[in-house]
Symmetry: C2
Subunit: 159 residues, 2 copies
DNA sequence: CGCTTGCTTGGAGTGCACTCCAAGTTCGTA
DNA sequence: TACGAACTTGGAGTGCACTCCAAGCAAGCG
């Protein structure tokens, strides 16, 4: 419910906006135009990767300065935040590009976007469950090693 | 504590055994020699991948029939179960090979193995936390789309 | 015995997600 | 204005984890 409070609330609901429900990107000094290396530093991707994301359509066409250099906006940063989260889920880049295309296509793709996110959410829940099973296995094996350390076959308790 | 009951309990603690704390592999009819395609069907890896695992040292040298064909044991199946779990964590194959080497090297590698598993466990906990954050973001965005559906910009409630 | 299916090997090929290169342009500061 | 750092592009290269191929051997069946 901590919705962006700095936003001009002229639109009530706009799901294609890049917001993730977290505070919008920290705007160090109210700026809204970042160079590629600044963005790389902020979001942890390389400049190479950012250019590549744009080339393949995973970024919604970044604005340019009058000399042709990229100038990323806070909105771009928010989008990259969402992309980063989706990437953590293991979603293939191609699927994220698909989502980006749907956003560009306009409001009539809301249902498909909704469906894509719901499916992804199920995947994430499944992965969490898998990881928790794995955690149990690791706990078991770590206990086993700890037990072996307490009861060594050749006692070396003094060493 | 549900340790293998079919095992000749001549060793009290044996961490390098492949057991994962779960029941040992279901032995359909008490067999202990499986062909490569049977193992592929059981553990969901391709025969190609199983051969590759052996080649790179991720399998502890599979036994052969008198004509040179692979014959996997229940113990191999259990090891593959552990490998599968570790793979789910995103652990690189090279690290799993390292673990397999430690197992082959003998008991004196217990501490390093223990450390490797503890580190992996921390990674897994971290990934679970990341995924849960991602889940929160997905919930937020899905809610947003659901709200957009309830309040469409061009009302089409009858359609 | 012949046929089909499955297994063996080393090595080559694939798909993904970057990651880097070369050659040229622009920015910021001394 | 000069200079090094940062930026631009298309295209090529890298590393990982498989995935497949070709040529040949082996097993079961009519």
């Amino acid at each position: 419910m901590t919705v962006t409070e700095t936003e001009t609330a002229d639109e009530a609901v706009e799901p294609d906006v890049c917001t993730t429900g977290e505070a919008p990107h920290p705007q160090p000094d109210g700026r809204d135009r970042y160079t590629i290396s600044e963005v790389a530093a902020i979001c942890g991707l390389s400049a190479h990767t950012l250019r590549w994301y744009e080339r393949i359509g995973l970024m919604p066409h970044v604005d340019r300065s009058h000399t042709g250099q990229r100038r990323f906006t806070n909105r771009d940063l928010d989008w990259l935040g969402l992309v980063g989260k989706l990437r953590l889920t293991g979603m293939p880049v191609a699927d994220m590009v698909r989502y980006a295309e749907l956003v560009r296509e306009g409001d009539h793709t809301f249902p498909e976007r909704h469906q894509l996110l719901v499916t992804t959410r199920e995947d994430v829940r499944h992965r969490i469950a898998e990881l928790q099973e794995t955690l149990a296995v690791l706990d078991f094996k770590i206990d086993t090693y700890a037990a072996a350390r307490r009861l060594p076959e050749r006692p070396e308790r003094t060493a």
